[in-house]
Amino acid sequence: MLFNIVLYILAAVALYISFRRDRQKTKKALAIAWNSFRNLIPTMLGIIGLIGLMLALVPREVIAGLFGNNSPAGILLISLAGAVTLIPAFIAFPLAASLLQSGASVMAVACFITTLLMVGIITAPMEVNFFGKKFTFWRNAIGFVLALVIGGVMGVILQ
């Protein structure tokens, strides 16, 4: 919330200064802003809907249930769940904390957090919109591999 207020103040001040200095340029800036916004809306609506569906169909308890299994296959499954889901940080970290408390291994939790943050399958359509398929595929694929490495190393060190 605080972040939103800061962001609005920042945008308003910048807009005001811009308008004072050059009306024409400011108009152009707003046109650019409006066009990018309009371009984003269809995909954004779809993704928001997907997030809602996901939260309804895969509740926290289901995710928590994945953490009983610490074999490589179990870790991989958790990592895939992390890559596919989109959970905001203010839910993900408390969830991670409660998983650790209830006995999940550090490696599993770390892999879940790193894949969650580094790979975004749900936001991929939006990323494709901006940067293309190849960019999106490689950024996420490399992110997934490195997320597994990071999670693995963290699990070993923090055991």
Binding site: K25, I32, A33, W138, M154
Partner: protein
């Protein structure tokens, strides 16, 4: 018109799924729609100022400034700047997409744009603070230390792969797209 219609395909699919869910499993359907509405409100709260800032960046920041600081010849400095700017960000990654896109069109190096997105997604300061609070300092610090090199490596790897391929948006000299 047809492409415009196609862009709503995902949304249409989701609406159908929502309706089906509400019909078959009313409880879950209402959770789905309520979460989506919550998200929609959240998005509309922070997306407009970001786009206004991106628009202003587009008209006021000269290409040379972006090129000099994060452009193809910006080297280590460019990487450091990309990381520092993105750590100050907040909000989900998809809010970072339009910003990175605007930077790319202004001559930002591809690797730096990927590093910027990676930092935004994983180690921005508000997120780290929450991480320390919930899972502790060792976890957060170790993740930070391992994630930084991973983000930088991803940036250079993505750049190598995309530049090596056929001419496209990210081939040498491309990246300028006019509205």
């Amino acid at each position: 018109m047809k492409t415009r219609f196609r862009r709503y395909a995902l949304f249409a699919l989701v609406v159908v799924a929502d309706l089906f869910l509400s019909w078959q499993y009313p409880a879950r359907g209402s959770v789905a729609m309520k979460s989506s509405l919550d998200y929609l409100v959240e998005m509309f709260l922070f997306i407009p100022p970001i786009f206004v800032l991106v628009g202003l960046l587009d008209v006021w920041v000269p290409r040379q400034i972006v090129e000099k600081n994060v452009g193809p010849d910006s080297g280590v400095r460019g990487v450091v700047i990309s990381i520092l700017v993105a750590t100050a960000a907040a909000g989900p990654l998809y809010a970072g997409f339009p910003v990175a896109d605007a930077l790319l069109r202004k001559g930002c190096r591809l690797a730096n744009a990927v590093i910027f997105l990676g930092t935004w997604a994983t180690i921005k300061i508000p997120m780290l603070m929450m991480e320390v609070k919930f899972v502790g300092l060792p976890f957060a610090l170790l993740r930070l230390a391992l994630t930084l090199p991973a983000i930088i490596a991803t940036g250079y790897l993505v750049e190598m792969i995309l530049k090596a391929g056929e001419p496209g948006r990210f081939a040498q000299g491309a990246g300028e797209k006019n509205y």
